[in-house]
């Protein structure tokens, strides 16, 4: 009993207490965003009021009505927030779907087939994986113009695969290599073509790897900012990240409450995905090393 107590104390001192500042650092900004988004303006812009909490006691001098939904109402009523949300979903889903299909084909080809130029293409994919989006956004904006996609969500659906495909190909390439060749070869001996073997045998086995690639691709698309900011100017075509950051500041007026409400609502979909599939995120991070 004594050793157990001492063990527990030791753990508390060397492990759980040192963890506290890290977890606070990690979570405090979210807590603060949420609390701000529910705080009435009277209290929000009161320099004396405690910013960490919403005053609930009506007798307190800083009390101004407790938690409120007014910032969320302003966001949903006065801005096309739901349109942005819809655009984000559309862009992320389509860009992810396109990229995954292209990446599966390319990764399979690089992992299993021998043909001239395959190794150099593999290297090229790795290099484009390392090219940051901020290096090419200026000329890419011109290319998008020339393709007639300027100022529409399609500009994003077409350009997001440029960073998703190298990333997913790289992730899947590693995954395909861990699948034993024999199972495909058996299928081919039994009369499958190679392509059929890919669809019927390899893909079902590779589902965990593909799920991981899908999750990361969706997350990266949802969070993308610079292309969405520079390729699109009409309010109705914007995605959530850009809409919230750009449209809730009018001149010198900052709608802080609604800004925070937008940030919270814009993060919720990805947080939900994250909570459900957390193990995939962790395993993907440890396998692939991601942007």
């Amino acid at each position: 009993m004594k050793t157990r107590t001492r063990n527990f104390l030791g753990q508390l001192l060397t492990l759980y207490i040192p963890l506290v500042p890290f977890i606070l650092f990690s979570l405090f900004p979210f807590y603060f965003m949420v609390i701000t988004s529910f705080k009435a303006d009277g209290e929000l812009y009161n320099l004396k009021a405690n910013p960490f909490i919403i005053q609930l006691s009506p007798t307190h001098p800083d009390y101004s009505g407790g938690p409120t939904l007014e910032h969320y109402q302003l966001l949903l009523r006065d801005t096309p927030f739901l349109t942005w949300l819809f655009n984000s979903v559309l862009v992320s889903v389509l860009a992810t779907a396109i990229s995954i299909v292209i990446a599966i084909l390319a990764a399979y080809s690089l992992a299993r087939l021998r043909f001239r130029g395959a190794p150099s293409f593999g290297t090229a994919v790795f290099i484009t994986y390392l090219v940051p989006t901020t290096l090419l956004f200026l000329p890419l904006a011109q290319v998008v113009n020339r393709l007639g996609l300027a100022d529409s969500v399609w500009a994003l659906i077409v350009t997001y695969p440029t960073f998703l495909v190298p990333f997913c190909t790289w992730l899947l390439l590693g995954y395909f290599r861990t699948i034993p060749q024999e199972i495909e070869e058996c299928a081919m001996v039994d009369g499958c073509t190679r392509f059929q073997a890919l669809i019927r045998i390899v893909l079902p086995v590779a589902i965990p790897g593909i799920a991981c690639a899908v999750l990361f691709a969706f997350t990266i698309s949802w969070n993308e900012f610079i292309y969405a900011l520079t390729f699109i100017s009409s309010t109705a075509q914007k995605t959530t990240t850009v809409g919230v950051t750009a449209e809730l500041i009018r001149g010198d007026i900052f709608y802080w409450g609604s800004l925070m409400a937008g940030a919270v609502l814009g993060s919720i979909p990805i947080v939900l995905v994250y909570v459900v599939f957390m193990d995939y995120y962790v395993s993907g991070l440890t396998q692939g090393a991601i942007k």
Binding site: P29, F32, V101, T245
Partner: protein, 320 residues
Amino acid sequence: MPTGALEQKPRSFETTTAVRAPVQDPFRKKMSLFFQREHVLGYTLIAPAFVLLGVLVAWPFCMALYFSVTDSWVGQPGAYIGLRNYWNLLHDAIFIQTLQNSFVFTFSAVLLKTVLGMALALLLFRTVRFKKWVRGAVLLPWVIPTALSTLGWWWMFDSLYSVFNWTLIHLGLVQVGPNWLGTPYLAKIAVITVNVWRGLPFFAITMLAGLVSIPRELYEAAKTDGAGAWARFWYITVPMLKPVLAIIILFSTIFTFSDFNIVYVLTRGGPINSTHLFATLANQIGLQSGKIGEGAAVSLFMFPILVLVVYFQLRFVRKE
């Protein structure tokens, strides 16, 4: 190695399968045979990726090179002016400032992320109770859209209502809180803080994976030989983590150096250009002022620097 296994694969598979495949129509049979040849199928499967990367990566890259040697404005092509854009930039105080900012920003942020990430990974490694919750909480900043979470930080650094200033004042440490985003060196600290906050999960979780893969026997052997905790860390953990560390640092250096979101949302490069990075400056010159030639040159300045980083890091990884 899978490549070795590939080499030994019998060459006769395609023909065997083709004979057995239920194809009646002679034309379809011919096509099917054609597509089953390994190199044909290889090129076919890779073609979509090849076209995409050619049209939307290689071509824009060439366009960037072209723009950077012209005096183009957005929407109107300009004349060839040689390397004058680059030359002018090297004599431009704002660009030099940006160059300096980028190095300070990248170096401090990556260093802090490495040190704090290592500490956090070691703690996570020993966490047994609430393991899933702790990891989930730690990884969250990395999952949320950076542009949106940076809005939260912006509000926390607000000149008037900053929560940090409220705390400092109420702890009696200062009379008037500092203007975080209005003072050059404080703005730099703010930008670095947000970057570290956002990147720390990536470091911690990947290093944790590295830690898990170190064989326990090494530590036990060292313990029996009388090595203390610090010696075990320095002579076992660090060398064993080196390859993982090199890869993480490579990625982080590239994406910290080319960062855009945090600076754009938090400071727009200000005050007095003290937080501009290549990407934000390129955006300001190339799109907001419309001088796309000069903007492209700013972006492309990143390229040789990144190539050098990749070259040295990969050489280091290979040696390990």
